[in-house]
Protein backbone atom coordinates (compact mmCIF):
# COMPACT_ATOMS: atom_id res chain seq x y z
CA UNK A 1 0.00 0.00 0.00
CA UNK A 2 2.49 2.63 1.09
CA UNK A 3 6.11 3.05 0.09
CA UNK A 4 7.65 2.12 3.42
CA UNK A 5 6.64 -1.51 3.03
CA UNK A 6 9.38 -2.14 0.48
CA UNK A 7 11.90 -0.03 2.38
CA UNK A 8 14.70 -2.38 3.53
CA UNK A 9 14.82 -0.86 7.01
CA UNK A 10 11.26 -1.76 7.89
CA UNK A 11 11.05 -4.14 10.81
CA UNK A 12 7.37 -4.90 11.16
CA UNK A 13 3.80 -3.78 10.78
CA UNK A 14 1.00 -3.57 13.31
CA UNK A 15 -1.91 -5.95 13.31
CA UNK A 16 -4.36 -3.57 14.92
CA UNK A 17 -3.27 -0.68 12.73
CA UNK A 18 -1.60 -1.88 9.52
CA UNK A 19 -0.56 1.67 8.60
CA UNK A 20 1.91 1.80 11.47
CA UNK A 21 5.42 0.42 11.07
CA UNK A 22 8.88 0.58 12.66
CA UNK A 23 11.97 1.80 10.79
CA UNK A 24 15.51 0.92 11.84
CA UNK A 25 17.95 3.78 12.25
CA UNK A 26 19.41 6.04 14.86
CA UNK A 27 17.06 6.62 16.50
CA UNK A 28 14.51 4.05 15.48
CA UNK A 29 11.42 5.78 14.10
CA UNK A 30 7.86 4.57 14.23
CA UNK A 31 5.03 5.65 11.90
CA UNK A 32 2.03 6.67 14.00
CA UNK A 33 -0.33 8.67 11.78
CA UNK A 34 -0.87 8.61 8.02
CA UNK A 35 -1.07 11.87 6.07
CA UNK A 36 -4.85 11.34 5.76
CA UNK A 37 -5.27 10.99 9.51
CA UNK A 38 -3.14 14.08 10.13
CA UNK A 39 -5.09 16.26 7.67
CA UNK A 40 -8.31 14.95 9.17
CA UNK A 41 -7.03 15.80 12.66
CA UNK A 42 -5.94 19.34 11.80
CA UNK A 43 -9.21 20.22 10.05
CA UNK A 44 -11.01 19.08 13.19
CA UNK A 45 -8.59 20.98 15.43
CA UNK A 46 -8.98 24.22 13.46
CA UNK A 47 -12.77 23.93 13.60
CA UNK A 48 -12.69 23.25 17.33
CA UNK A 49 -10.60 26.33 18.04
CA UNK A 50 -12.79 28.54 15.82
CA UNK A 51 -15.91 27.15 17.48
CA UNK A 52 -14.53 27.72 20.96
CA UNK A 53 -13.57 31.31 20.18
CA UNK A 54 -16.84 32.22 18.44
CA UNK A 55 -18.88 30.34 21.04
CA UNK A 56 -17.15 31.99 23.99
CA UNK A 57 -17.77 35.38 22.33
CA UNK A 58 -21.50 34.77 22.68
CA UNK A 59 -21.20 33.03 26.05
CA UNK A 60 -19.89 35.85 28.22
CA UNK A 61 -20.31 39.60 27.59
CA UNK A 62 -16.67 40.28 28.47
CA UNK A 63 -15.63 38.07 25.55
CA UNK A 64 -18.03 39.60 23.01
CA UNK A 65 -15.11 41.50 21.47
CA UNK A 66 -13.93 38.16 20.00
CA UNK A 67 -16.75 38.48 17.44
CA UNK A 68 -14.44 41.04 15.78
CA UNK A 69 -12.26 38.12 14.64
CA UNK A 70 -15.17 36.80 12.59
CA UNK A 71 -16.29 40.11 11.11
CA UNK A 72 -18.80 41.17 13.77
CA UNK A 73 -21.67 39.72 15.78
CA UNK A 74 -23.99 38.93 12.88
CA UNK A 75 -21.28 36.99 11.01
CA UNK A 76 -20.17 35.18 14.17
CA UNK A 77 -23.75 34.09 14.77
CA UNK A 78 -24.11 32.95 11.16
CA UNK A 79 -20.74 31.16 10.85
CA UNK A 80 -20.57 29.33 14.19
CA UNK A 81 -23.13 26.62 13.31
CA UNK A 82 -21.60 26.00 9.89
CA UNK A 83 -18.17 25.49 11.42
CA UNK A 84 -19.91 23.06 13.78
CA UNK A 85 -21.22 21.07 10.83
CA UNK A 86 -17.72 20.86 9.32
CA UNK A 87 -16.32 19.73 12.68
CA UNK A 88 -19.02 17.10 13.06
CA UNK A 89 -18.19 15.43 9.76
CA UNK A 90 -14.46 15.87 10.18
CA UNK A 91 -14.58 14.34 13.65
CA UNK A 92 -16.73 11.50 12.31
CA UNK A 93 -13.75 10.72 10.05
CA UNK A 94 -11.44 10.56 13.07
CA UNK A 95 -13.96 8.48 14.96
CA UNK A 96 -14.11 5.78 12.32
CA UNK A 97 -10.32 5.78 12.01
CA UNK A 98 -9.63 5.41 15.72
CA UNK A 99 -12.62 3.94 17.56
CA UNK A 100 -11.44 0.31 17.52
CA UNK A 101 -8.09 1.10 19.10
CA UNK A 102 -9.87 3.15 21.77
CA UNK A 103 -12.01 0.31 23.09
CA UNK A 104 -11.67 0.09 26.86
CA UNK A 105 -9.55 -2.76 28.24
CA UNK A 106 -9.02 -4.08 31.75
CA UNK A 107 -5.51 -2.59 31.82
CA UNK A 108 -7.00 0.85 31.24
CA UNK A 109 -8.89 0.65 34.51
CA UNK A 110 -5.64 -0.15 36.33
CA UNK A 111 -3.98 2.80 34.59
CA UNK A 112 -6.75 5.16 35.66
CA UNK A 113 -6.69 3.88 39.26
CA UNK A 114 -2.97 4.64 39.39
CA UNK A 115 -3.26 7.91 37.48
CA UNK A 116 -1.44 9.86 40.18
CA UNK A 117 1.75 7.84 39.49
CA UNK A 118 1.49 8.68 35.80
CA UNK A 119 0.95 12.38 36.47
CA UNK A 120 3.75 12.28 39.03
CA UNK A 121 6.22 10.87 36.47
CA UNK A 122 6.62 7.67 38.57
CA UNK A 123 5.25 5.20 36.02
CA UNK A 124 8.28 4.35 33.93
CA UNK A 125 9.52 1.23 35.66
CA UNK A 126 6.20 -0.37 36.49
CA UNK A 127 5.21 -3.11 34.00
CA UNK A 128 1.52 -2.48 34.70
CA UNK A 129 1.85 1.12 33.60
CA UNK A 130 4.31 0.91 30.70
CA UNK A 131 2.85 -1.97 28.72
CA UNK A 132 0.42 0.31 26.89
CA UNK A 133 -1.07 -0.19 23.43
CA UNK A 134 -1.40 2.57 20.86
CA UNK A 135 -3.58 4.58 23.28
CA UNK A 136 -3.49 4.86 27.05
CA UNK A 137 -6.58 5.24 29.20
CA UNK A 138 -6.26 9.03 29.32
CA UNK A 139 -6.22 9.25 25.54
CA UNK A 140 -9.19 6.91 25.37
CA UNK A 141 -11.16 9.08 27.77
CA UNK A 142 -10.37 12.16 25.67
CA UNK A 143 -11.48 10.24 22.55
CA UNK A 144 -14.79 9.02 23.97
CA UNK A 145 -15.39 12.28 25.83
CA UNK A 146 -14.96 14.27 22.62
CA UNK A 147 -17.17 11.83 20.70
CA UNK A 148 -19.97 12.04 23.25
CA UNK A 149 -19.76 15.82 23.67
CA UNK A 150 -19.73 16.44 19.91
CA UNK A 151 -22.95 14.44 19.58
CA UNK A 152 -24.49 16.49 22.41
CA UNK A 153 -23.25 19.75 20.89
CA UNK A 154 -24.44 19.09 17.35
CA UNK A 155 -27.89 17.92 18.50
CA UNK A 156 -28.45 20.81 20.93
CA UNK A 157 -26.89 23.19 18.41
CA UNK A 158 -29.39 22.29 15.69
CA UNK A 159 -32.27 23.13 18.07
CA UNK A 160 -30.91 26.66 18.59
CA UNK A 161 -29.86 27.19 14.95
CA UNK A 162 -32.73 29.60 14.50
CA UNK A 163 -32.07 30.62 10.95
CA UNK A 164 -33.07 27.19 9.66
CA UNK A 165 -34.65 25.28 12.50
CA UNK A 166 -36.50 27.76 14.73
CA UNK A 167 -39.89 26.37 13.72
CA UNK A 168 -39.11 22.82 14.80
CA UNK A 169 -38.90 23.31 18.55
CA UNK A 170 -40.76 25.08 21.35
CA UNK A 171 -39.25 27.94 23.32
CA UNK A 172 -38.88 25.62 26.34
CA UNK A 173 -36.93 23.12 24.24
CA UNK A 174 -34.71 25.95 22.98
CA UNK A 175 -34.00 27.02 26.57
CA UNK A 176 -33.00 23.49 27.49
CA UNK A 177 -30.86 23.14 24.36
CA UNK A 178 -29.20 26.46 25.17
CA UNK A 179 -27.99 25.40 28.61
CA UNK A 180 -27.04 21.89 27.50
CA UNK A 181 -25.04 23.40 24.62
CA UNK A 182 -23.28 25.86 26.96
CA UNK A 183 -22.34 23.25 29.56
CA UNK A 184 -21.21 20.71 26.95
CA UNK A 185 -19.10 23.44 25.33
CA UNK A 186 -17.40 24.29 28.61
CA UNK A 187 -16.65 20.61 29.26
CA UNK A 188 -15.28 20.00 25.75
CA UNK A 189 -12.98 23.03 26.08
CA UNK A 190 -11.67 21.53 29.34
CA UNK A 191 -11.17 18.15 27.63
CA UNK A 192 -9.37 19.97 24.82
CA UNK A 193 -7.06 21.66 27.33
CA UNK A 194 -6.18 18.23 28.78
CA UNK A 195 -5.54 16.91 25.25
CA UNK A 196 -3.30 19.82 24.24
CA UNK A 197 -1.45 19.91 27.56
CA UNK A 198 -0.74 16.17 27.47
CA UNK A 199 0.74 16.56 23.98
CA UNK A 200 2.98 19.38 25.21
CA UNK A 201 3.98 17.71 28.49
CA UNK A 202 4.91 14.38 26.92
CA UNK A 203 7.74 15.60 24.66
CA UNK A 204 7.95 14.01 21.25
CA UNK A 205 4.19 13.59 20.95
CA UNK A 206 3.37 16.52 18.68
CA UNK A 207 5.61 15.11 15.91
CA UNK A 208 3.15 12.23 15.61
CA UNK A 209 0.53 14.65 14.34
CA UNK A 210 2.84 16.96 12.38
CA UNK A 211 5.33 14.64 10.67
CA UNK A 212 3.41 11.43 11.31
CA UNK A 213 6.10 9.61 13.28
CA UNK A 214 7.65 9.29 16.72
CA UNK A 215 10.99 7.93 17.86
CA UNK A 216 11.39 4.36 19.01
CA UNK A 217 12.32 5.66 22.47
CA UNK A 218 9.02 7.54 22.70
CA UNK A 219 7.11 4.42 21.77
CA UNK A 220 9.15 2.33 24.22
CA UNK A 221 8.53 4.79 27.04
CA UNK A 222 4.85 5.52 26.51
CA UNK A 223 3.31 2.78 24.35
CA UNK A 224 5.60 -0.23 24.81
CA UNK A 225 2.97 -2.82 23.99
CA UNK A 226 2.21 -1.03 20.72
CA UNK A 227 5.92 -0.97 19.82
CA UNK A 228 6.43 -4.65 20.63
CA UNK A 229 3.37 -5.51 18.63
CA UNK A 230 4.70 -3.58 15.63
CA UNK A 231 8.12 -5.22 15.87
CA UNK A 232 6.90 -8.78 16.31
CA UNK A 233 3.98 -8.36 13.94
CA UNK A 234 1.54 -9.88 16.40
CA UNK A 235 -0.02 -8.85 19.67
CA UNK A 236 2.25 -10.02 22.54
CA UNK A 237 1.12 -12.77 24.88
Amino acid sequence: MSAHKIEPGVVGHGIADPDDSVHRGNPVTVDRYTAGARINHWITATCLVLLAVSGLALFHPSLFFLTGLFGGGQLTRALHPWIGVVLFFSFAGLFFRFWRLNLWKGADTTWMVRLNEVIGNRDHEDPELVEIGKYNAGQKIVFWGMSFLIIVLISSGVVIWNHYFSDYSTVDQKRLAMIVHSIAAVVIICVWIVHVYAAIWVRGTIGAMTRGRVTGGWAWRHHRKWLKELVTGKPPG
Binding site: V11, G12, V22, R24, N26, P27, V28, A57, L58, F59, H60, P61, F64, T67, G72, G73, Q74, T76, R77, A78, I119, G120, N121, I160, N162, H163, S166, V171, D172, K174, R175, L176, M178, I179, S182, I183, A185, V186, I189, C190, I193, V194, Y197, I200, W201, V202, R203, G204, T215, G216, G217, W218, A219, W220, R221, L227, K228, V231, T232
Partner: protein, 312 residues
Amino acid sequence: MFPPLPNPSVQPSASKFGEQDLVRRSASTVPQPARQLTPMAKLIDVSKCIGCKACQSACLEWNDLREDVGINHGSYDNPLDLTPNSLTVMRFTEWVNPETKNLEWLIRKDGCMHCADPGCLKACPAPGAIVQYSNGIVDFVHDHCIGCGYCVTGCPFNIPRISKADNKAYKCTLCSDRMAVGQGPACAKACPTQAIVFGTKDDMKKWADDRIKDLKSRGFKNAGLYDPPGVGGTHVMYVLHHADQPKIYAGLPENPRISPVVQLWKGLTKYAGLTAIAAFAAIGVLHHVVMGPNRVTEDDEQNAKRLAEDRS
Protein backbone atom coordinates in the same frame (compact mmCIF):
# COMPACT_ATOMS: atom_id res chain seq x y z
CA MET B 1 -64.14 58.52 30.04
CA PHE B 2 -60.38 58.75 30.25
CA PRO B 3 -59.19 62.14 29.00
CA PRO B 4 -57.88 61.55 25.47
CA LEU B 5 -54.24 62.23 24.81
CA PRO B 6 -53.84 65.81 23.61
CA ASN B 7 -52.36 66.40 20.20
CA PRO B 8 -48.87 67.68 20.82
CA SER B 9 -47.24 70.64 19.15
CA VAL B 10 -45.95 69.97 15.65
CA GLN B 11 -42.92 72.18 16.28
CA PRO B 12 -39.61 70.29 16.46
CA SER B 13 -38.67 69.55 20.05
CA ALA B 14 -35.83 67.92 21.90
CA SER B 15 -36.21 64.24 22.81
CA LYS B 16 -37.67 63.83 26.29
CA PHE B 17 -35.38 60.96 27.13
CA GLY B 18 -32.27 59.27 25.72
CA GLU B 19 -29.06 57.38 26.42
CA GLN B 20 -28.63 59.19 29.74
CA ASP B 21 -31.86 57.60 31.03
CA LEU B 22 -30.84 53.97 30.53
CA VAL B 23 -31.19 51.78 33.59
CA ARG B 24 -30.10 48.58 31.87
CA ARG B 25 -28.13 47.82 28.72
CA SER B 26 -27.69 44.23 27.50
CA ALA B 27 -24.29 42.54 28.01
CA SER B 28 -22.86 45.75 29.45
CA THR B 29 -23.33 48.16 32.32
CA VAL B 30 -24.59 51.73 32.44
CA PRO B 31 -23.95 54.40 35.04
CA GLN B 32 -26.78 55.14 37.46
CA PRO B 33 -28.92 57.74 35.63
CA ALA B 34 -28.93 61.21 37.20
CA ARG B 35 -32.71 61.46 37.08
CA GLN B 36 -35.64 59.09 37.35
CA LEU B 37 -38.27 59.51 34.64
CA THR B 38 -41.91 59.01 35.59
CA PRO B 39 -42.73 55.35 34.92
CA MET B 40 -45.27 55.14 32.11
CA ALA B 41 -47.65 52.34 31.25
CA LYS B 42 -50.18 51.19 28.71
CA LEU B 43 -53.38 49.76 30.15
CA ILE B 44 -55.35 47.32 28.01
CA ASP B 45 -58.90 46.86 29.26
CA VAL B 46 -59.86 43.52 27.77
CA SER B 47 -63.51 44.02 28.77
CA LYS B 48 -63.81 47.10 26.54
CA CYS B 49 -62.12 45.64 23.46
CA ILE B 50 -64.39 45.16 20.45
CA GLY B 51 -61.76 43.36 18.35
CA CYS B 52 -61.69 45.98 15.58
CA LYS B 53 -57.91 45.69 15.11
CA ALA B 54 -57.49 49.45 14.78
CA CYS B 55 -54.48 49.00 17.10
CA GLN B 56 -52.93 46.47 14.72
CA SER B 57 -53.45 48.81 11.77
CA ALA B 58 -52.14 51.82 13.68
CA CYS B 59 -49.04 49.85 14.68
CA LEU B 60 -48.29 48.83 11.09
CA GLU B 61 -49.00 52.36 9.93
CA TRP B 62 -46.86 54.19 12.47
CA ASN B 63 -43.94 51.79 12.21
CA ASP B 64 -44.21 51.69 8.41
CA LEU B 65 -44.51 47.90 8.34
CA ARG B 66 -46.50 45.69 5.97
CA GLU B 67 -47.78 42.25 6.83
CA ASP B 68 -47.94 39.54 4.17
CA VAL B 69 -51.44 38.70 3.01
CA GLY B 70 -52.28 35.56 4.99
CA ILE B 71 -54.93 32.90 4.76
CA ASN B 72 -58.15 32.41 6.71
CA HIS B 73 -57.52 29.95 9.51
CA GLY B 74 -61.16 29.81 10.56
CA SER B 75 -60.80 32.38 13.30
CA TYR B 76 -60.58 36.14 13.57
CA ASP B 77 -56.87 35.92 14.36
CA ASN B 78 -54.99 37.57 11.52
CA PRO B 79 -52.09 37.14 11.35
CA LEU B 80 -52.16 33.97 13.41
CA ASP B 81 -49.14 34.98 15.47
CA LEU B 82 -46.75 37.86 16.09
CA THR B 83 -44.24 38.37 13.28
CA PRO B 84 -41.28 40.69 12.70
CA ASN B 85 -43.83 43.04 11.07
CA SER B 86 -46.86 42.56 13.29
CA LEU B 87 -45.60 43.78 16.64
CA THR B 88 -49.06 43.38 18.12
CA VAL B 89 -51.91 40.97 17.32
CA MET B 90 -55.40 40.45 18.67
CA ARG B 91 -55.97 36.96 20.02
CA PHE B 92 -59.58 35.78 19.98
CA THR B 93 -60.81 33.04 22.32
CA GLU B 94 -64.30 31.56 22.48
CA TRP B 95 -64.73 30.54 26.10
CA VAL B 96 -67.73 28.98 27.79
CA ASN B 97 -68.00 30.23 31.34
CA PRO B 98 -68.61 27.07 33.38
CA GLU B 99 -70.65 29.01 35.99
CA THR B 100 -73.04 30.88 33.72
CA LYS B 101 -72.81 28.58 30.68
CA ASN B 102 -72.45 31.79 28.67
CA LEU B 103 -70.19 31.96 25.66
CA GLU B 104 -67.70 34.72 26.25
CA TRP B 105 -65.65 36.13 23.42
CA LEU B 106 -62.30 37.01 24.96
CA ILE B 107 -60.09 39.29 22.93
CA ARG B 108 -56.58 40.07 24.08
CA LYS B 109 -54.17 42.43 22.38
CA ASP B 110 -50.83 40.59 22.56
CA GLY B 111 -47.42 42.22 22.35
CA CYS B 112 -44.39 43.15 24.42
CA MET B 113 -45.25 43.69 28.10
CA HIS B 114 -42.20 45.91 28.84
CA CYS B 115 -41.24 43.97 31.98
CA ALA B 116 -39.48 45.78 34.80
CA ASP B 117 -37.16 42.73 34.90
CA PRO B 118 -36.83 41.92 31.19
CA GLY B 119 -35.81 38.35 30.34
CA CYS B 120 -34.89 39.33 26.77
CA LEU B 121 -32.35 41.84 28.04
CA LYS B 122 -30.93 39.36 30.53
CA ALA B 123 -30.40 36.73 27.80
CA CYS B 124 -28.99 39.08 25.13
CA PRO B 125 -25.24 38.57 24.44
CA ALA B 126 -24.77 41.66 22.25
CA PRO B 127 -23.77 44.83 24.15
CA GLY B 128 -26.44 47.50 23.77
CA ALA B 129 -28.81 45.52 21.56
CA ILE B 130 -31.52 45.70 24.23
CA VAL B 131 -31.94 48.73 26.50
CA GLN B 132 -34.29 49.72 29.27
CA TYR B 133 -35.12 53.35 30.11
CA SER B 134 -36.12 54.59 33.54
CA ASN B 135 -39.63 55.32 32.23
CA GLY B 136 -40.09 51.58 31.73
CA ILE B 137 -39.55 51.20 27.97
CA VAL B 138 -37.63 48.09 26.92
CA ASP B 139 -36.33 48.72 23.42
CA PHE B 140 -34.34 46.78 20.82
CA VAL B 141 -31.45 48.63 19.16
CA HIS B 142 -31.24 46.97 15.78
CA ASP B 143 -27.78 48.29 14.91
CA HIS B 144 -26.37 46.11 17.71
CA CYS B 145 -28.64 43.08 17.26
CA ILE B 146 -26.86 39.95 15.98
CA GLY B 147 -29.97 37.82 15.41
CA CYS B 148 -29.02 34.99 17.75
CA GLY B 149 -32.54 34.59 19.16
CA TYR B 150 -31.42 34.48 22.80
CA CYS B 151 -34.09 37.13 23.59
CA VAL B 152 -36.71 34.63 22.43
CA THR B 153 -35.53 32.14 25.06
CA GLY B 154 -35.33 34.87 27.69
CA CYS B 155 -38.86 36.22 27.20
CA PRO B 156 -41.53 34.71 29.49
CA PHE B 157 -44.30 35.93 27.13
CA ASN B 158 -42.91 34.57 23.83
CA ILE B 159 -42.86 37.97 22.13
CA PRO B 160 -39.68 38.71 20.11
CA ARG B 161 -39.58 37.51 16.51
CA ILE B 162 -36.45 37.23 14.37
CA SER B 163 -36.73 38.53 10.84
CA LYS B 164 -35.56 36.16 8.11
CA ALA B 165 -34.89 39.21 5.94
CA ASP B 166 -32.30 41.01 8.08
CA ASN B 167 -31.73 38.55 10.96
CA LYS B 168 -32.70 41.02 13.65
CA ALA B 169 -35.19 40.74 16.49
CA TYR B 170 -38.41 42.78 16.48
CA LYS B 171 -41.06 43.59 19.06
CA CYS B 172 -43.27 46.46 20.26
CA THR B 173 -41.22 49.55 21.21
CA LEU B 174 -44.05 51.10 23.26
CA CYS B 175 -43.71 53.71 20.49
CA SER B 176 -40.55 55.02 22.13
CA ASP B 177 -40.15 57.44 19.21
CA ARG B 178 -43.61 58.91 19.86
CA MET B 179 -43.07 59.02 23.62
CA ALA B 180 -39.83 60.90 23.04
CA VAL B 181 -41.88 63.85 21.76
CA GLY B 182 -44.67 63.61 24.31
CA GLN B 183 -47.13 61.43 22.42
CA GLY B 184 -48.70 58.14 23.41
CA PRO B 185 -48.44 54.82 21.55
CA ALA B 186 -50.09 54.64 18.15
CA CYS B 187 -52.33 51.74 19.23
CA ALA B 188 -53.72 53.74 22.18
CA LYS B 189 -54.30 56.73 19.95
CA ALA B 190 -56.26 54.63 17.47
CA CYS B 191 -58.39 52.63 19.91
CA PRO B 192 -62.03 53.74 19.43
CA THR B 193 -63.35 52.41 22.78
CA GLN B 194 -60.47 53.43 25.04
CA ALA B 195 -59.75 49.77 25.68
CA ILE B 196 -56.14 50.95 25.38
CA VAL B 197 -55.18 53.94 27.47
CA PHE B 198 -51.79 55.36 28.22
CA GLY B 199 -50.30 57.50 30.98
CA THR B 200 -48.15 57.29 34.09
CA LYS B 201 -48.12 53.86 35.69
CA ASP B 202 -49.73 55.29 38.85
CA ASP B 203 -52.56 56.89 36.88
CA MET B 204 -53.09 53.67 34.96
CA LYS B 205 -53.39 51.68 38.18
CA LYS B 206 -55.94 54.17 39.52
CA TRP B 207 -57.88 54.04 36.30
CA ALA B 208 -57.76 50.24 36.41
CA ASP B 209 -59.17 50.28 39.98
CA ASP B 210 -62.25 52.16 38.80
CA ARG B 211 -62.67 49.79 35.89
CA ILE B 212 -62.36 46.77 38.18
CA LYS B 213 -64.97 48.20 40.58
CA ASP B 214 -67.29 48.73 37.65
CA LEU B 215 -66.74 45.19 36.36
CA LYS B 216 -67.34 43.72 39.83
CA SER B 217 -70.60 45.67 40.08
CA ARG B 218 -71.61 43.98 36.84
CA GLY B 219 -71.05 40.51 38.22
CA PHE B 220 -67.44 39.84 37.22
CA LYS B 221 -66.39 39.05 40.78
CA ASN B 222 -62.85 38.00 39.77
CA ALA B 223 -62.09 41.13 37.75
CA GLY B 224 -58.60 42.39 38.41
CA LEU B 225 -55.37 43.97 37.17
CA TYR B 226 -52.65 41.93 35.46
CA ASP B 227 -49.31 43.43 36.52
CA PRO B 228 -47.33 40.25 37.22
CA PRO B 229 -44.86 40.59 40.10
CA GLY B 230 -42.72 37.66 38.86
CA VAL B 231 -41.16 39.99 36.28
CA GLY B 232 -41.15 43.00 38.60
CA GLY B 233 -44.42 44.28 37.17
CA THR B 234 -44.96 45.35 33.58
CA HIS B 235 -45.39 48.61 31.72
CA VAL B 236 -48.19 47.09 29.67
CA MET B 237 -50.99 45.97 31.99
CA TYR B 238 -54.33 44.29 31.42
CA VAL B 239 -57.68 44.68 33.10
CA LEU B 240 -59.13 41.17 32.95
CA HIS B 241 -62.71 40.23 33.82
CA HIS B 242 -61.38 36.83 34.96
CA ALA B 243 -58.09 37.84 36.51
CA ASP B 244 -58.04 34.59 38.52
CA GLN B 245 -57.42 32.62 35.31
CA PRO B 246 -55.29 34.59 32.85
CA LYS B 247 -54.64 31.36 30.92
CA ILE B 248 -58.07 31.55 29.24
CA TYR B 249 -56.97 34.71 27.43
CA ALA B 250 -55.06 32.82 24.72
CA GLY B 251 -52.51 31.47 27.18
CA LEU B 252 -51.56 34.60 29.11
CA PRO B 253 -49.11 33.15 31.69
CA GLU B 254 -50.41 32.76 35.24
CA ASN B 255 -47.21 33.75 36.97
CA PRO B 256 -44.65 34.77 34.36
CA ARG B 257 -41.00 34.91 35.35
CA ILE B 258 -37.69 34.48 33.64
CA SER B 259 -37.27 30.72 33.19
CA PRO B 260 -34.99 29.18 35.86
CA VAL B 261 -33.13 27.50 32.99
CA VAL B 262 -32.32 30.91 31.53
CA GLN B 263 -31.35 32.21 35.00
CA LEU B 264 -28.98 29.27 35.42
CA TRP B 265 -27.53 29.69 31.92
CA LYS B 266 -26.99 33.43 32.27
CA GLY B 267 -25.94 33.17 35.93
CA LEU B 268 -23.99 30.31 37.43
CA THR B 269 -23.10 28.60 34.13
CA LYS B 270 -21.52 31.75 32.73
CA TYR B 271 -19.21 32.26 35.71
CA ALA B 272 -18.58 28.61 36.64
CA GLY B 273 -17.88 27.83 32.98
CA LEU B 274 -15.14 30.41 32.57
CA THR B 275 -13.74 29.52 36.00
CA ALA B 276 -13.54 25.83 35.04
CA ILE B 277 -11.75 26.63 31.78
CA ALA B 278 -9.29 28.93 33.56
CA ALA B 279 -8.72 26.30 36.27
CA PHE B 280 -7.90 23.57 33.74
CA ALA B 281 -5.43 25.86 31.99
CA ALA B 282 -3.88 26.89 35.33
CA ILE B 283 -3.52 23.28 36.50
CA GLY B 284 -1.72 22.50 33.24
CA VAL B 285 0.74 25.36 33.70
CA LEU B 286 1.25 24.48 37.38
CA HIS B 287 1.85 20.80 36.61
CA HIS B 288 4.45 21.71 34.03
CA VAL B 289 6.21 24.07 36.41
CA VAL B 290 6.30 21.47 39.20
CA MET B 291 6.89 18.23 37.25
CA GLY B 292 8.70 19.53 34.19
CA PRO B 293 8.46 17.91 30.79
CA ASN B 294 8.19 14.15 30.38
CA ARG B 295 11.23 13.49 28.15
CA VAL B 296 12.30 10.34 26.35
CA THR B 297 15.70 9.19 27.72
CA GLU B 298 18.65 7.80 25.84
CA ASP B 299 17.96 4.46 27.58
CA ASP B 300 14.50 4.43 26.03
CA GLU B 301 15.99 4.93 22.57
CA GLN B 302 18.56 2.19 23.14
CA ASN B 303 15.89 -0.22 24.39
CA ALA B 304 13.81 0.48 21.31
CA LYS B 305 16.84 -0.03 19.09
CA ARG B 306 17.67 -3.34 20.78
CA LEU B 307 14.08 -4.47 20.32
CA ALA B 308 14.16 -3.60 16.63
CA GLU B 309 17.63 -5.20 16.09
CA ASP B 310 16.66 -8.42 17.89
CA ARG B 311 13.92 -8.84 15.42
CA SER B 312 16.20 -8.94 12.39
